[in-house]
């Protein structure tokens, strides 16, 4: 299963079945597909993703690529992890996501989880993912590096309230 090299998509009854290296075959309804207006930096070949909850009680979500079976990020809702986090989303970016002024965007943070040391988990506050839930368009929106860290430690006792 891990040796799968290509994504195979087969469509039937409106559902798309996608092969993934981590989760095997996934059935996806087209309305659930999230489209990147520009791909994640470093992964130019992946534009379509789905969100797969890690578990009912888990704050983690998987952002699984439909274009690359091996590509998946662990993400969490910024509002859950850091309620006071307010990334800057400019008007052109909102336009790119086709967001009307009254539409709030979902902000996801990508987590980096060291294999041997999950407690060393960090969140990327420099490159949050903004998603317009109405259009399901998304973009990684780079922030000011003097304000935000790409490796913000999730587990510390010193989080500012």
């Amino acid at each position: 299963m891990h040796a799968m090299a290509t994504t195979t998509c087969t469509e039937k009854h409106g559902e798309i079945t996608v092969s993934t290296s981590r989760f095997g075959q996934l059935s996806v309804t087209p309305e659930k597909i999230i489209t990147m207006t520009s791909p994640f930096l470093g992964f130019p070949g992946s534009k379509r993703f789905i969100i797969k909850p890690h578990g009912e009680e888990s704050p983690f979500l998987w952002l699984q690529s439909l274009d690359d079976p091996k590509l998946a990020f662990v993400v969490t809702q910024a509002a859950i992890l850091i309620p006071q986090y307010q990334p800057e989303i400019s008007a052109p970016v909102r336009q790119e996501l086709q967001a009307l002024p009254e539409h709030p965007l979902d902000i996801l943070l990508i987590l980096t989880i060291p294999r041997e040391n999950p407690e060393g988990m960090t969140a990327n506050l420099l490159g949050p993912v903004a998603i317009n839930p109405q259009t399901r368009l998304a973009k990684q929106v780079l922030q000011d590096p003097t304000r935000y860290d790409a490796c913000w430690p999730v587990f510390t006792m010193e989080h500012a309230e």
Partner: protein, 86 residues
């Protein structure tokens, strides 16, 4: 690499939609103005590379996150379980 000499005020056109203009040279620093279509991302290289690096590291997550359960039970963080899926 194509190398072009430019004076302040002069520009380079890349394709139809991108212009890179030297605005000012002062104290060992060059101020550059970039005009590009909205869909073309323009970033300082070091920030671009930082994000590429972090995205690449993040993409190596294993499918099994069960090891995280123990991390959360230690109550060292303010992370709370989500009420329901999106």
């Amino acid at each position: 690499m194509l190398i072009l000499a430019r004076k302040p005020g002069e520009a380079i056109a890349i394709g139809d939609g991108i212009k890179i203009r030297v605005l000012e040279i002062k104290g060992g620093q060059v101020k550059i103005g970039v005009e590009a279509p909205a869909e073309v991302m323009v970033h300082r290289e070091e920030i671009y590379l930082r994000i590429v690096e972090e995205n690449t590291r993040a993409a190596e997550a294993p499918a099994d996150l069960s090891s995280l359960a123990s991390v959360f039970s230690t109550d060292k963080t303010r992370i709370k379980p989500q009420q329901s899926g999106k």
